[in-house]
Symmetry: C2
Subunit: 351 residues, 2 copies
């Protein structure tokens, strides 16, 4: 078993005793940090940054140099997987991600390759290995991937979407083609997360950003089932330690009981549910991660402290809570607000 | 009491006996209809169409000429109210609505006028009166407004938004200023809906499109409380009939019990909740409207029939259900799918 100076995150995810609630922040290595913007400017495009292990490592470590966070999270993007499947990811300034070759027919789906993560996504594995070396046992490294459903929406639409017209057209009109696509994406995500764990990721998270756009039964059939399959295929121990898995469906608060049965160690919460209610519903089956509204960080330190304390007060168990935002940090946030947040969580009840 | 040849909608909203489930479709007068696009092209801008009572009446009646729907809904836009408050609404092609003068300071909030609906919004009241005359007692006319919270997000952001940065900044940073704005908008919406009822609207609906972006306690404090205030101020009888009120918070399925206590006769449901579960939670306190995923209409008639029948089967009571989509119909839908949907609902159990 590898030593970790700070293993609070892993312990909380597994509902083992902790001295205080651990905290990390979704998109903690990101545009709100001036040092990130500087590295990004040096890198060229966003994809150049993702694909350069040294620079990806550099930005992964930046927030840890500023704040005493309890975890690092790999700097990357959920769309690297469909890019490795040949869709041609690019970023239009101010427009978000796009794919040159969206996938809309069964024929196109059947032609999609399942990438070998040590080949087409080797730059990610190199980054994981490098970050682990640089972290040198201080805090754990979290790996991640997008959920098959979420990746499929981008692969079909060819871009971000509000109403997922093409995706829903396929789901309702050709459900078997949708399943064929999700099976392929799930195989790719599964291999990708397994490779991240082998390369050194000590916990992994699956981001289901768009699962909340589905009806309840379609959520189970088209999103949750594939995440469950991936979770079942992951090695749950590596380097002599359990590798906890967190499943996060944004807008999925109504379906926590189903999520709790999917085999994950922890569930992510957005801010549209009270953590006390969530804890009451899932009991001791899973840990919970969240659930501060990221927009709280637009207010002053006093508001940040009060809102963070409300959540800490609301969680009813002595362990099993990882403090986080309910979604990624907004680019316009002042890093000083993050400092106040981290300090609040870490000093809660004498931390 | 005025006669109505078809009063199923009003009866279902009040949970009175009906021979079959009534159906209307959110945004039924809209871009998916070629005749709408033709009128829109003649009108000039979208706002020109809204502000011309004859043309607004024409497009309101268009879907009724095609489909045997159980209600008409006033053709208008929720943003006419902030426009009448002086914000300068305009539409940028392909960009959605914008305001020339967004509201971001307490000073600007205090200067906002509460418009007189018979003056600044007289074009809406003229449209309501004209539509009632043209409907001539066939089906009821539904009036509507946006919720104060939803209107406030547009008024503060100056446009549609994904993360409501400025709105949340005000909410968390200056909650008293946010309340001052919401009070003013609520007063405007209340007067506006009262005037619609006096002008002939036989039912009204409050669209809370963005209430689902709030934490549970902020939903109650910043959205639901103001909708409740408006509902309490409405005349609940006009022309010898009760005027039912429907409250619809998109993404608010977790909070149905709170909504059921706000004084509305009916609640709108999006598609992220099973109607059977919703009915179980609200019991006989309110009727329910919804809840077909609008994207079902991208599929073939057989899928439309199967999905609509699932919802009809799921609703457990003999009355109290108004069939509708869970959100507005998408512009790309083939009107023939709507015909299949209406036929399915109206022939269900022999209707």
């Amino acid at each position: 078993m590898t030593d970790l100076a700070n293993d609070r995150l892993l312990r909380a995810l597994m509902r083992e005793p902790v001295d205080r609630t651990p905290i990390w922040i979704m998109r903690q290595a990101g545009r709100y940090l001036p040092e990130y913007r500087a590295t990004r400017a040096r890198a060229g495009s966003f994809m150049d940054l993702c694909q350069n292990p040294e620079l990806a490592c550099e930005v992964t470590l930046q927030p840890l140099a500023r704040f005493p966070l309890d975890a690092a999270i790999l700097f990357s993007d959920i769309l690297t997987v469909p890019d490795a499947m040949g869709l041609g990811l690019y970023f239009e300034t101010g427009e978000g991600p796009r794919f040159r070759d969206p996938v809309r027919s069964l024929d196109a789906i059947e032609r999609l390759p399942v990438p070998d993560p040590e080949q087409e996504l080797r730059y990610v594995m190199d980054a994981v290995r490098l970050i682990r070396r640089e972290l040198n046992g201080t805090v754990p490294l979290i790996g991640f991937a997008g959920s098959p459903w979420t990746l499929a929406t981008y692969m079909i639409e060819g871009a971000g979407s509000r109403d997922f017209a093409e995706t829903k057209r396929l789901l309702y009109g050709e459900p078997q083609a949708m399943h064929a696509l999700l099976q392929k994406v799930a195989a790719a995500v599964s291999a990708y997360l397994q490779a991240q764990i082998r390369s050194g990721a000590q916990a992994v998270m699956i981001f289901d950003t768009w699962g909340g756009s589905l009806t309840p039964r379609h959520y189970r059939e088209f999103s949750l089932a594939y995440m469950q399959r991936i979770i079942n295929e992951l090695p749950r121990e590596h380097e002599g330690r359990r590798v906890p898995v967190t499943l996060f469906t944004k807008g999925g608060g109504a379906w926590l009981e189903w999520q709790a049965d999917a085999g994950a160690d922890a569930l992510g919460l957005d801010w549209t549910i009270e953590i006390a209610e969530a804890a009451d519903r899932v009991g001791d089956r899973v840990a919970l991660q969240g659930n501060l509204d990221p927009s709280v960080l637009y207010a002053g330190d006093d508001v940040v402290r009060a809102e963070a304390t409300r959540i800490l007060d609301g969680f009813p168990f002595p362990t099993g809570h990882v403090f986080n935002l309910g979604h990624g940090i907004h680019p316009g946030i002042d890093p000083d607000r993050v400092a106040a947040l981290v300090e609040t969580v870490q000093s809660y009840r004498g931390g």
